[in-house]
Every structure is written in C-alpha cells, then in structure tokens.
Subunit: 168 residues, 2 copies
C-alpha cells in the first residue's frame, strides 16, 4: 500500500488520470492530489473529469509520498510555470522514488532540468524538446529508466499502468 | 499590401489571432488561413473564435506569401506533430520573409530546428525549451532578430502588432 502523489491542474488528459488512478486505488493504494491551490477543483480537457486538489504544491513534501503520477494533456504546460511544482518534481526525481510520467508530463521534468542523460518517452509533439533537454527519446509504449517510468499517451495506458504497479 | 499566411489549428489563443489579424486587415493586407485541412473550421481555446482554413499546409508554398503569423495557445502543440506544418515553418524562416511568432509559437520553430543561435521570446512555460534549442531567450515584450519577430503572450500584443506592421 503506497501513498501516491498526483501532480495535476486544469486541462489534463482525462484518461491519463482516471485509468492509472483507478488501477492504483483497486490495489489498495492511496492518492493525494497536489495542485496549484488546495480545495480547488480542476477539470480534464476532454471529458471534463473533475479532481479536487488536496494540497497546494507549495506545501507538498516529497518525504510524505512513495510515488508521483504526472498525467498529460495541457496540465504540465500550466504546472511548469509554477516554481513550486517544478521544485516538487525535481525533488521527486532526485529522491529515487518512482515517477510515472505520461504524454506531456516530461515538459515539467524538462523545466526541472532532471532528464539529461535519462531514457524517456512522451507525446510526439515534445520529442524535439526531450532530445534538446539531453535525454534519450525512445518511441516505445513504456520506458523504464531507474525511477523514471514514462509512456507516450492514452494508447499506452495498459503498459504504463502495468509498469507503474510493478514499481510500487 | 502583403499576403500574410496564418498557420493555425484548434485551441489557438483567440486574441493572438484576432488582434494581429484585424490590424493587418485594417492596413489593407490579405490573410490566408493555413491549417491541417482545407475547409475545416478551427476554434480558439478561450472564446471559441472560429477560423475557416483556406488551404491545407500540405499544399502551401512559401513563395506565395510575404509573411507568416503563428498565433499561440495550444495550436502550435498540435501543428508541430504535422510534418508539413514543420516543413512550411522551416522554409518560411529560411526564406528570410518575416515570421510573427507569439506565445507558444516557438514550439513549432523548435521542432523545425530553426532557432539555434537566434534571439527570441515566448510564453513563460517554454523558456527552458527555447534555451535547450540553442536560442537566446529574452524576457521582453517584443524581440526582433532579423526576420524573426516574437512576443511572450496576450499582454504584449500592442508591441507585437506594431513591430509586425513595421516588417510588412
């Protein structure tokens, strides 16, 4: 049973939150939704799935969680302009605890400057950004490099969830 | 009187299209809307402004236009996965004709690999991507480097439009 932080804000790709979240909960794990403002409700970009933020990322401490899920969509584009979200992502990667990053999630890791020399995948629009950040982009459904587990998008969810569960 | 191509698809930042477009038209210029599919109507992400695509980018030739406007929002994220949109942007930059790039527009130029060594600005979320692409990021309302005219976002529109009009 793990405590999983979900770093999320508006315009996330709905299924990239709901599918892993449901799988994690079914296995008895706990989810903590971390965003820009505690108590705020954020919405998915496609189906309007609503998520209530449990804790502001400004207050969030990596030591309290066992793993981090970063759903994609346009949520990472909004999170990466927040210095606390960048700090939290950076500390998580450096902690060695597992990070589950899908779709546009590597954008946040690029701003956190933690993927240089790492193997990673992500949404096709950000391939050049991933390469320019000094990471090795792999066009596969799931890439596992140490504590960094990544997938390209919704089509990869089964493999992403299977790999993530193995790291809990 | 110039022929201005507008490279645009869904989820563009409405005012980053409407304000420059109106200013260009008022001065007697012509606009040609280029997107992924001719005849399709694309929508802005905030106010739902509708734009009908005149020409598929697959068919678009740089020689037919005098300048290129790339509005921001999430339109550039969708355009940069299309090889024809990337090719068109690349050829435009290399042609020496003016490019007006605002907000997230540099994302397309990063995928086109045409900003290395150039001075440019853009939306705050993509600062690290711009730097990693080998460009010199400047945090100013408008940056003019040869044929590359760029601004950070909606707050910079008056300066962006003023500079763009000077390059027509």
């Amino acid at each position: 049973m793990s405590k999983i932080a979900v770093l999320i804000t508006d315009d996330f790709e709905d299924v990239e939150y709901t599918d892993p979240a449901n799988a994690f909960l079914e296995k008895g794990n706990e989810l903590f939704h971390i965003g820009l403002e505690a108590g705020k409700t954020v919405k998915g970009k496609r189906q309007g799935v609503e998520v209530t933020i449990d804790q502001a990322v400004k207050e969030a401490e990596v030591t309290r969680y066992d793993a981090l899920l970063i759903p994609g969509g346009y949520s990472p584009d909004q999170l990466r302009v927040d210095p606390d979200a960048v700090r939290f992502a950076k500390e998580f990667v450096e902690s060695g605890k597992p990070i589950f990053a899908i779709c546009h999630a590597p954008q946040l890791l690029i701003t956190a400057q933690v993927i240089q020399g790492r193997r990673i995948t992500g949404w096709k629009s950000i391939v050049q950004d991933i390469k320019n950040a000094g990471a090795e982009f792999e066009d596969r459904e799931v890439v596992e490099d140490g504590n960094l587990i990544s997938s390209r998008g919704p089509q990869d969810l089964p493999a992403f969830i299977e790999a993530s569960l193995r790291h809990l």
